[in-house]
């Protein structure tokens, strides 16, 4: 590395990124006001899919395993949140009773929503541990198969559990209906930011490096004293947690859950996003989740062709660029700024320091 290059110090980097996030949030809120409900729905779906892709990327791109049951975690989270919200005394924000305190009602409503999201994540994470501990003893193809098996079992259980319990819990094939539609563009956006931030923070730490080392060479990782089983389960659980959150957002976005939504096909759809973007690149996952969600929605005529095109693109990418479109490249705003600073004279920015 060139010793004379200027670097942006850490606090400034965080400040720049925080400012960008706030800016994006404000911009998004301004846009949402002007958009039709159709486009806000697409925006929310994009956000949910970003969370799904970014979280699967932890297990696929960073840990280097191929779980095929991501939709199962999403389902678990969605149902947990749905059942919880239906059980809670949610105030009806559109028709508040006379003299009710609107602010308090909003607070109560949002409190339950936050609780539901956390609960969804936690329940999914617990499933992640339950499934991860046995599944991660296996490698490669076998891991793919066993997670596929678990995912299918989750679906079958959600379909038929009511007949065993003897009361309505998941409402089987007819679906869990009338879940409060609490998802808005802003809370989906906040969840996306938190997801990306937490995953980024974890990956840029000793824990994240341990996860990467397992992907790179498991035997060498063990010889470095890294508890591979622990970190595999950790990455898997992290991945499941955010899939659960995405499931909860999805539940509060559509308002109705049906087990067959979360089949093997859904898992593959998420996988396509990750693979296409480049396994191991968060930016790649975000971009491909955005494009693959928004494009077919915007071009409605295209919808019929969507899945066919998905698969052709998947095959072509694997044949011609197996590492995905972005490879493992990750975007860094600060790095970009540094490049500019170093190119166009260093004296302009006062905070630039020599390292």
């Amino acid at each position: 590395m060139n010793q004379n290059q200027k670097r942006i110090p850490m606090p400034a980097r965080y400040a720049i990124n925080a400012a960008l996030v706030v800016l994006a949030f404000v911009a998004l809120n301004l846009i949402t006001g002007a958009l039709s409900s159709y486009y806000t729905k697409i925006l929310m779906l994009v956000g949910i899919n970003i969370i799904l892709a970014v979280s699967l990327n932890v297990a696929t791109g960073y840990l280097g395993q191929l779980p095929l049951g991501h939709a199962g975690f999403m389902a678990v989270g969605g149902y947990a949140a749905g059942i919880f919200l239906k059980a809670m005394p949610m105030p009806n924000l559109d028709k508040l009773p006379e003299g009710a305190n609107a602010a308090a009602a909003h607070l109560q409503y949002n409190f339950y929503v936050v609780l539901a999201l956390l609960l969804a994540g936690l329940v999914a994470a617990i499933f992640g541990i339950i499934i991860g501990v046995p599944a991660l003893r296996l490698k490669g193809d076998y891991l793919a198969i066993i997670t596929l098996g678990f995912g299918e079992i989750i679906r079958v259980v959600l379909l038929n559990i009511d007949s065993v319990l003897g009361f309505d819990f998941t409402f089987g094939a007819s679906g869990l209906k009338r879940i409060p539609k609490a998802a808005t563009v802003s809370n989906v956006f906040i969840c996306v930011v938190i997801t990306c931030l937490v995953i980024h923070m974890v990956m840029k730490s000793r824990h994240g490096r341990a996860i990467l080392s397992i992907r790179e060479n498991e035997i060498a990782a063990e010889s470095c004293g890294i508890h591979t089983t622990y970190y595999k389960v950790m990455a898997f659980t992290l991945s499941a947690f955010f899939a659960g959150v995405a499931g909860a957002l999805y539940a509060t976005y559509v308002g109705i859950l049906q087990p067959n939504t979360f089949g093997f096909m859904k898992s593959i759809e998420i996988l396509v996003m990750v693979v296409l973007g480049g396994m191991g690149s968060m930016l790649g996952s975000i971009l491909s989740a955005t494009v693959l969600t928004a494009l077919p929605q915007v071009l409605l005529a295209f919808d019929k062709w969507r899945m066919v095109l998905y698969s052709i693109v998947l095959i072509l990418v694997m044949i011609f660029k197996p590492s995905g479109l972005m490879g493992t490249y990750d975007f860094s705003m600060s790095r970009l700024l540094e490049k500019f600073m170093n190119r166009f004279g260093g004296k302009k920015k006062g905070e630039a320091v020599k390292q």
Binding site: M1, V202, R209, N217, A220, E222, C224
Partner: protein, 288 residues
């Protein structure tokens, strides 16, 4: 935890440590009657060896003699069929590779196993995993402890890299390094785990003579600085004879000779089983 009491840069100010000093201590590694069978065939049979606390020990023998298997036993990649291994006087029975590493055994691999897509410094930082102390919450919230520990780890990693003058390549991708540099990086990574015993599996393979000479000096330097024992498998006899204080010769999974380089050089059994045979093979190859 004072994981690295001595630092590499102290080297010149220290007097050289001689293996004789080991006599006052218990050996760092003792293998007693170590044996392993694969499908009924003994790969290593009744392997007995003691390595002193700051000894450089060579393990030589013809191809397929079971040298790497010994390393795999010492690092618990394989569990021995019979016999035991004491590290620092502690029985490693039932330990995993990870636990043995924490007990103080680090290794490099014959077929290089770097974290190829990660940067050079990340490779070293992964080696330092168990010496970097902060939990998930600390790192996720980026508490001061995280910054402090990361900064210290980074500095330490750069210092370790400076052993081989690789600190300037810290941000390069490990897989993009030339072959010799990759071997050196593996040694640094192993050192980063803070071992008491460092196992080097053919460290000079693929290196040119000047690189090998440099490597020899560095192995010495590492031993003296960190006061650790080093055990190495090597086919380059000039290297083995040049730096090892003790040598064990393995043939068909059995130790056929142990001693100083001079004793090994003169041992007729070794000459017949190892050197003689090797020369014979060479002539055969030339004859064809």
């Amino acid at each position: 935890m004072s994981d690295y009491e001595l630092t590499y840069n102290d080297y010149d100010s220290r007097e050289k440590i001689l293996p004789e000093r080991d006599k006052a201590y218990t050996p760092v590694m003792e293998a007693i009657g170590l044996s392993i069978e694969f499908g009924g065939l003994p790969a290593v049979d009744d392997f007995n060896l003691t390595v002193g606390r700051t000894e450089i020990c060579g393990l030589i023998g013809p191809n397929g003699a079971g040298k790497t298997t010994v390393f795999n036993l010492l690092t618990k990649v394989y569990q021995p069929t019979r016999g035991k291994i004491l590290i620092d006087g502690r029985d490693t029975k039932g330990m995993s590779t990870i636990q043995v590493n924490r007990a103080g055994v680090a290794r490099t691999f014959q077929n290089i196993r770097l974290f190829k897509n990660l940067s050079v410094i990340d490779n070293v930082l992964i080696g330092m995993h168990n010496h970097t102390h902060y939990n998930m919450l600390t790192s996720t919230l980026r508490l001061p402890k995280y910054w402090k520990a990361e900064k210290a780890a980074r500095e330490k990693a750069l210092e370790l890299l400076s052993i081989f003058g690789m600190q300037d390549q810290a941000d390069a991708e490990a897989g993009s390094l030339p072959y010799g540099a990759q071997r050196r990086l593996e040694i640094v990574r192993a050192l980063a785990t803070g071992p008491k015993l460092l196992l080097l599996d053919e460290p000079a393979a693929g290196m040119n003579p000047s690189e090998t000479t440099e490597l020899m000096e560095n192995i010495h330097k590492i031993r003296d600085t960190f006061q650790i024992a080093i055990m190495l498998i090597e086919h380059d006899m000039s290297l083995v004879m040049g730096i090892c204080e003790g040598i064990a010769v393995l043939n068909y999974g059995k130790i056929i000779a142990k001693g100083t380089p001079e004793e090994i050089r003169r041992n007729p059994v070794v000459i017949e089983a190892y050197l003689g045979k090797k020369r014979g093979e060479k002539q055969d190859a030339e004859g064809q």
